[in-house]
Symmetry: C2
Subunit: 329 residues, 2 copies
């Protein structure tokens, strides 16, 4: 989808956990919260508090009241997307719940842009996040169990990102949206999400490069949360096609943590991973003119712990949005 009047990202907000705050992008986030409970009694309601804080910060930055939002699009990784549902309880804006696992940031930005460019809304907020502690006990083991992590495992980011998209104003713009098709090449290893999601990323990027714009037209091509392993697979798949992505291709899961210093194995993951890298760092660099055109290709693994235990392989999806700095073409 090419947007006729590309929606403007008027402002963005990012909230990160302690470990993310200690990472290479630590000083880029709006808020860093050392308390994993975000002041709540449980990790799950802490995740909701984190999302609420992120939305409040977004609205405060834009000097807007939630009533001025035409639509709010969100979702998270908790079962039944409860993290987002409880976060938006009491927020007087029509709500669209989305589920695309960790691809949600791009799905939400894309659909918010559709609502605006299609003439249905003036202002939409797109928000998502994830929380290490809730994800770990839901998808893997109780944290108290202290299980040893596989070398291919990624570390779920504790963080939330939100964007305010508007029909008018100044700032970076969402120019197009490439929605993904579910891909599943048979990977069954729940501890190797990068490999499971890489085919979806390759498929969406391939379709985008063939139909919309070439890799050279981007300053930065950023997959969602493939981490070090998935990033290497995608780079390799393109090399086989004779396409050298080189340094302009990176992954949010590689950027959010310092692999040597932070013991995160294959990198960061989670819906919050692309959300905070985008809202905390990339958009600021687009605003500063350090980047001119970025392709965010957020990736999501669509299995459930039940489907994995039943022996199913892992379907994945990747949605991509192009974001251009002000004044670019």
């Amino acid at each position: 989808m090419r947007f006729f009047c590309p929606p403007v990202i008027l402002s963005e907000a990012s909230v990160a956990g302690r470990k993310e705050g200690e990472g290479p992008l630590g000083d880029r986030f709006d808020l860093v919260e050392p308390d994993a409970y975000f002041g709540a009694k449980t990790w799950e309601s802490g995740e909701s508090a984190m999302l609420r804080r992120c939305l409040a910060h977004l609205l405060a930055k834009a000097e807007l009241d939630a009533r001025q939002l035409d639509y709010l699009l969100s979702g998270d990784l908790q079962n039944q997307c409860a993290g987002a549902a409880y976060a938006v309880r009491g927020v007087p804006a029509p709500y669209f719940g989305l589920y695309g696992a960790c691809s949600k940031m791009a799905e939400a930005i894309g659909l918010a842009s559709v609502l605006i460019d299609g003439g249905f809304a003036e202002r939409c907020a797109a928000m998502t996040g994830s929380h290490f502690c809730t994800a770990e006990r839901q998808y893997r083991f109780p944290l108290e169990y202290g299980g040893v992590r596989a070398p291919t495992a990624q570390w779920t980011v504790t963080g939330a990102g939100a964007l305010l998209l508007c029909r008018e104003g100044r700032g970076p713009r969402v120019t197009d949206f490439t929605a993904g098709i579910v891909a599943d090449l048979g990977v069954k290893d729940m501890a190797n999400m990068g490999a499971a999601m890489a085919p979806a990323a390759y498929q969406t990027l391939r379709a985008h490069f063939d139909a919309v714009r070439a890799p050279e037209d981007y300053d930065l091509i950023l997959t969602g949360d493939l981490g070090h392993i998935g990033h290497a697979i995608v780079a390799d798949l393109f090399e086989r096609d004779g396409v050298h992505l080189g340094d302009r291709y990176d992954d949010c899961g590689r950027r959010v943590f310092d692999r040597e210093r932070q013991d995160v194995h294959a990198g960061g993951s989670g819906a919050g991973c692309s959300a905070i890298v985008l809202a905390g760092d990339v958009l600021k660099r687009l605003r500063a003119g350090e980047l001119r055109r970025v392709l965010l290709a957020a990736t999501g693994a669509l299995m459930s712990p039940v489907s994995a235990m039943q022996g199913e392989s892992i379907p994945a999806i990747c949605h991509a949005v192009t974001i251009e700095g002000e004044g670019v073409s």
Copy 2:
């Protein structure tokens, strides 16, 4: 949202389980499958098989290949919406995963209409479903436990419904979409979903009647799956406003089962409930001219079993779409 060029529902498909097939609408469904596994090894993959069969039937009726779909919007009640994700694996259409619990049929129809009326798509499929056996063990107890159900409990529908929405063609049209705001009046009883969701239904209907069209303008106003209790609450809330909804107001959860004969307590529920009542019965009656204008206000409870166990109340949402028969203003 009012649609400038209301999308046409070119065809619809419905697949129901045995109990639904024995209910009052049994002979209205396209397919009734007596095997709760739908030929698969587990209930979860059976639910995916049911959704796949529903989509295949939809495409066969319309003589379309999945490649001709611009977008496919779906989601279900399984954790991580895995039922839908595995159903659409291998389907070569860009996929938007949604989560709105049992409000999903209206959310999917509404967003598909946005994509079409906004000029982003020619053809979209909107599909959802639910399965008694997967929902019961995920949300409540293992079926083998044989727990006694509360009188206020509803029976999750095993069924799937899918609609093909197009920019052009003949058939009923989606004329407007009222997206809901999350409502939570503090109900904590997981065995009384009707009461938990009734405030959301009231809120969305109230907003719709105030801003778009009066109740008298509808032949049928159909909430999603409030069942007998939630339906009575909504009717009562409107009576207090001096609005008598009367016989034109009913609920999908009241229509899908025979309360006396089928031992379903407070009625049907689940994302499949509004999906099969709409696709199996209401759309056929709109095509036949028996109904001229219908408001489908699908309702969803956004809690998770974890949030309920943590003592949280149940947030709910209701999205409403107006569907008019061909030739109605």
